[in-house]
């Protein structure tokens, strides 16, 4: 059943209608096949781009949808309720556009943004390295300035859409400090590792990237030299909200599946939803989904009003992804033995939820961000 949403405008209502229609027809129908076979959904991101769903939170003048985060995140949530991997990749694309949209010069925005926001082009975000995940400042990939531009050498890791994306927001060390670049998806000296064999999110590859002296033109530097970490962390505040929305959508899908099943399956002469033991479990799941949504929307509204929202974004990421883990695990419980099989989607939902507690800042890092805000 469609989630009863509070949306600020008729425009947003129309956008959510479009999203549900497209997600039902293009995502829900293909997700099982691709997640099982671990194959990439060719053409799907072009469809999302043509519908205008890849540039929603960015300005109209560059081809974006000029939507507040409050609305954009609910679009992500609807996508995630059908196909978590696609929603996550869409969120990461939004994250990858952030540095040029926020720190790019006018010339850089005019040159790249229209294609990134409305051209069916997909982006990846390349901050992590094998030895530098939570401790992002420990990254060692180097960008050495020379006359023609920056020569990049090093290894990046955990790149969503790695090898498939058309561009990457790349973070590399320029001398002592870190800088941000808008790197092309293909350039001489750039190669990608074999896709990781993951627990879930099978349809979208996650890879390493090997930079072997690839040359990036000077105007691919975003912001000032040395501003990279500041850019990375401000992008991540927004990205965490995207992940919170994806986790909420995934949890919603698991709740819906469990509720449907509990209203069909009978034991001891009545529907299992009417057994208080199961009914209360479902009630806790519903409460977790609703509070996850309320928490990310609170952070989004603060962002939309231009107020500080870093702490709220971390709270939202923590609350929503823990909720997704709990709700998907309990959904498997509601299905009993059937829930442990691949005949029902809840088994996949449970696998997909786990990564959400890990990526874009582990939930331990979220607690670190929150607690630092509390220390006097």
């Amino acid at each position: 059943m469609a989630v009863d949403r509070l949306l600020p405008t008729q425009e947003a209502e129309d956008l959510l209608d479009l999203t549900r229609d497209l997600a039902d027809k293009e995502l829900a129908t293909r997700v099982e096949e691709h997640e099982r076979a671990e194959t990439y959904p060719e053409g799907l991101f072009a469809t999302l781009g043509a519908a205008g769903l890849l540039g929603l939170p960015y300005p109209e003048e560059f081809g974006g949808g000029a939507q507040p985060y409050e609305v954009y995140l609910q679009v992500l949530e609807e996508l995630a309720a059908r196909w978590a991997a696609v929603a996550v990749a869409t969120s990461v694309h939004g994250l990858a556009c952030f540095p040029v949209a926020t720190f790019g010069t006018d010339a850089q925005k005019e040159r790249w943004l229209p294609e990134l926001l409305g051209g069916g082009v997909v982006g990846g975000y390349s901050l992590s390295e094998p030895q530098a995940g939570s401790d992002a400042a420990a990254l060692t990939c180097k960008a050495v300035a020379e006359e023609a531009g920056y020569r990049v050498t090093g290894t990046k890791a955990w790149i969503t859409h790695g090898g498939r994306a058309d561009f990457y927001a790349l973070f590399a060390r320029t001398g002592e400090r870190i800088s941000c670049f808008l790197a092309p998806g293909q350039v001489e000296g750039l190669s990608f590792g074999k896709p990781e064999e993951k627990m879930g999110l099978h349809a979208i590859p996650t890879t390493t990237a090997h930079w072997d002296g690839a040359l990036l033109e000077t105007d691919r530097l975003l912001g000032a030299e040395g501003q990279g970490l500041q850019i990375a962390f401000s992008a991540l505040d927004s990205g965490r909200l995207g992940i919170a929305a994806c986790a909420t959508g995934l949890a919603q899908a698991a709740l819906d599946a469990a509720v449907d099943y509990a209203n069909e399956r009978t034991t001891f002469g009545k529907k299992i939803v009417d057994h208080q033991g199961l009914g209360f479990l479902l009630a806790d799941m519903a409460a977790a989904v609703d509070s996850a949504r309320a928490t990310y929307l609170d952070a989004a509204r603060r962002r939309d009003l231009g107020r500080p929202y870093s702490r709220q974004a971390s709270v939202a990421k923590l609350v929503a992804t823990d909720a997704a883990m709990k709700v998907t695990t309990d959904a498997v419980q509601v299905f009993g033995g059937y829930g442990y099989t691949r005949d029902f989607p809840v088994e996949r939902y449970m696998r997909e939820a786990k990564i959400m507690q890990i990526f874009e800042g582990t939930n331990q890092i979220q607690r670190l961000v929150i607690s630092r805000g509390l220390a006097r």
């Binding site: 479009l18 043509a50 205008g52 769903l53 949808g65």
Partner: protein, 261 residues
């Protein structure tokens, strides 16, 4: 090229459809209403022709109650340029002939139409006759059930597909073409398209505006009358056939009895 697409708002195919208890017409308030899927394909055909022929314009024509504007907006958000909506309480209950007469009057308010496109059959009434009737009343060539459509200069060519086979038809424009479900996959409206559609012109006409005689339309003018209707009976247990070596013949006899083979 000026292309007109005839579209209809119908009850959502996936909902339970009912007749109203009073006059046995379709109970439109009981279900969600959508732009008929076959009409989405007709709009897609029009948009493809527009994209291939610079300077073309796509006009959507719909006849129906006020809320048919939602179906019109859908077509506009896909990319049609403007719309004409015949909306008048007096058209309630109009049959296929009355609909064709009324649509022809509405088409008469538009100038320079080269091609009229329609779905071959609406998913609610399923008479499947309106496009041919419109062509007849306009005195234009009628090319129905198209699964392929090309326009080359002033000539339209379609592959017409029916249960009787495939026929290739050509005609000089202007002409009326109805499309079947194999013609194309309709595009999604884009978010920008939805925004832009709000600003596109929609002309709303009453019967009088379109010069339609009230006596030609409405339930009272319909050539057929529904006197009684009942909901479909619930599924029964079916019929069990014991196989005593003649199971195959018994199944065949059953299917013949149901007029299925």
């Amino acid at each position: 090229m000026n292309i007109v697409v005839l579209v209809k708002q119908v009850p959502d195919t996936y909902s339970e459809r009912k007749l109203s208890s009073g006059d046995h017409t379709l109970d439109r308030d009981a279900t969600d209403a959508v732009l008929d899927e076959i009409d989405e394909r007709a709009v897609e055909s029009a948009l493809q022709l527009k994209e291939a022929n610079d300077g073309s314009e796509v006009t959507v024509v719909a006849m129906g109650p006020d809320r048919a504007t939602d179906a019109i907006r859908k077509a506009l958000s896909m990319g049609a340029d403007k719309a004409v909506h015949l909306s008048d309480e007096a058209i309630h209950g109009t049959d296929a002939i009355g609909t064709a007469k009324a649509l022809v009057k509405v088409l008469g308010t538009l100038e320079g139409t080269d091609l009229v496109l329609a779905g071959n059959e609406a998913s609610d009434g399923r008479t499947g006759a309106v496009p041919a009737m419109v062509a007849e009343l306009l005195g234009l060539p009628s090319l129905t059930h198209a699964r392929e459509l090309t326009v080359d200069g002033g000539t339209v060519t379609v592959r017409r597909e029916t249960d009787d086979g495939v026929t290739v038809l050509t005609a000089e424009l202007p002409a009326v073409v109805s499309v079947n479900e194999k013609i194309n996959e309709p595009r999604y409206p884009s978010f920008k398209g939805i925004m832009a559609a709000k600003k596109k012109p929609v002309t709303t006409l009453t019967l009088a505006d379109a010069g339609i005689e009230p006596s030609d339309v409405g339930l009272s003018a319909a050539w057929s009358t529904v006197t009684e209707s009942n909901p479909k009976p619930p599924k029964s247990g079916g019929e069990k056939v014991e196989d005593e070596g003649d199971g195959g013949s018994k199944i065949a006899a059953f299917l013949v009895g149901q007029k299925l083979i």
